[in-house]
Symmetry: C2
């Protein structure tokens, strides 16, 4: 469904505007009028394509999943032979994305879910699907890396995949607080170090 031949119609202009405006100001503080102005369309066009602001929020989260999904699917780290190198390559790729203003590299759904998790279940669920779906793309590589090393740890591939997302989301919060990507990069370095230690042959099963 969707993915019509990419015409520059009002709907996709609104979704593109939503990504940048909501990442800058948050969902609640973003007004429909502002979105229309940023997209260069009228309010009539907005409510033609979306029944409500909430529906746009859900659509924006799905659009985010599509565009970022495509970005990561074609990233070079998938070519590594060792599955651990693919995981480390993913993290390194995330670090490379830390460029430009804070609003340019932070995560739409991480921002939105904070504001909507209680008030707007539809948006929260869309954000949850986006985060979990993205984390799942890491699971098979994590699992393969474990199999290669005959590891049977007390953590699951899913929990480690989600942990990488937690570190990234937390790094974005710190970047927003400090006004730049420097600390986010430091935190991603700590994540890389954790993965290296976790999969290092010396310490396959440190306890139990």
């Amino acid at each position: 469904m969707s993915t019509q031949p990419a015409k520059r119609d009002a709907r996709s202009k609104l979704l593109d505007a939503a990504l940048s405006v909501i990442r800058t100001k948050g969902y609640s503080a973003t007004t429909v009028d502002e979105l229309c102005a940023a997209a260069g369309v009228t309010k009539g066009a907005f409510f033609h394509h979306f029944r409500s602001k909430e529906e746009l929020g859900v659509a924006a989260a799905e659009y985010w999943s599509e565009t970022t999904g495509a970005l990561f699917a074609q990233a070079p780290y998938h070519d590594c032979a060792d599955p651990l190198d693919r995981v480390l390559g993913y993290v390194s790729f995330r670090k490379d994305l830390l460029e430009g203003g804070v609003a340019d590299f932070t995560c739409l759904v991480g921002t939105m879910v904070q504001e909507t998790y209680q008030s707007t279940p539809a948006i929260r669920d869309a954000c949850e699907r986006s985060i979990s779906g993205h984390a799942e793309t890491l699971e098979s590589d994590i699992e393969a890396a474990m199999r290669v090393r005959n590891m049977c740890p007390d953590w699951t591939p899913a929990s480690l995949a989600l942990h990488t997302q937690a570190v990234l989301q937390g790094a974005f919060i710190l970047a927003k607080a400090k006004g730049g990507p420097a600390i986010a990069a430091d935190s991603i370095d700590h994540l890389t170090r954790y993965l290296q230690l976790l999969f290092s042959p010396a310490t396959t099963d440190p306890q139990s």
Copy 2:
């Protein structure tokens, strides 16, 4: 300054209400009327104590720093002899706090900074002070743990202290997305595992 004899006046009722309402709905979606209703005071009282909603946001962040600061200052993990045990005890203490509804254990300033980092510098700075100030309480223990082990790694105590905050903030986002603290606990377990590996005598200097 401040710390008048803790009278149950309108100001502190409003600050208490702000902590719970803003953590539930976010800063932008929280209205002044709603805050007044939750605190059981009138709008006149609100604007008597705060010149604007923004000023309340700053005061709420500072109030958050004070109350959480007191909570952590009297926590039992400070009694451990080994500085690493104090750091691990802190993380374990954070895990123990994951109880009740999501709005009860998540972080006010982590939530607020996402919405205000661009639009409201005063609130962003107050959140930054809160996060960084809290992280600093970990630095001396991290530094001591490094000294005990004669470690000279390529990361700083400050960056590790902030990394713990990134993991916690990210864990809160995941908890909000998934509707419960389970994944947050998993992520905190990964953080504990990282600290143990990082300070384990076998791997003091894995590279360079």
